[in-house]
Point group: C2
Chain length 102, copies 2
Amino acid sequence: MTYESVLLALSDPTRRKVFETVAAKPCAVGAIADQLPVSRPAVSQHLKVLSDAGLVHVTVQGTRRIYAARPEGLAELRAYLDRLWGDVLTEFAKEIEKDNPA
Amino acid sequence: MTYESVLLALSDPTRRKVFETVAAKPCAVGAIADQLPVSRPAVSQHLKVLSDAGLVHVTVQGTRRIYAARPEGLAELRAYLDRLWGDVLTEFAKEIEKDNPA
DNA sequence: GCTTACCGTAAGGCATGACTTACGAATCAG
DNA sequence: CTGATTCGTAAGTCATGCCTTACGGTAAGC
């Protein structure tokens, strides 16, 4: 939902791998777990965190649940980074100007 | 250095606040701690993590150390996000096309 | 209906991480 | 040279997080 939850969700390596997997191609839980060195429940828990952060969404398909990436989640984080990027560049320019006075 | 360390560094709320503070204006350690509900050593430890991630750099000034934000650190993370953004949008487009066949 | 496949949740263990206080090093003021 | 300021690091505590196994619930196949 917020960029803070997105940041926290993507900070874990295996959870980030889970997201990258579904970002490349929508996938069922078991299929994701097969490609990772963790158990299926672990993947399920990671998917819950990603879902709460708004990074993925589910579509039920029989007993299987297909998870897919959601653009809005990443957009949230990108907006925050762009904001921060502006501040950093502004301060960086001031510093350069201080070293090279007109 | 890597986008992974940057992601991890910015995942903590107070550490993120520390970075936002120096991003707005270069600052000494004590001055940062005064604006936060944590002790000065805690800020020092956060600054070390931020420094290892390449997000800040130091300039010694007598006994004081002025920390400032470093654009390259954020650039690393932005590049990773843009890469991910491309994958997500591509998959998103496929999904739309599947629902609205030509 | 009964079995099988797929999945979420609960409970517990174990490592990691964030914070504190205490201490030591380095610099400036007097 | 002494005292004061500023800071980094060490040691220890305590919470949080990630993973595991165990269980229950739902849908498909025969």
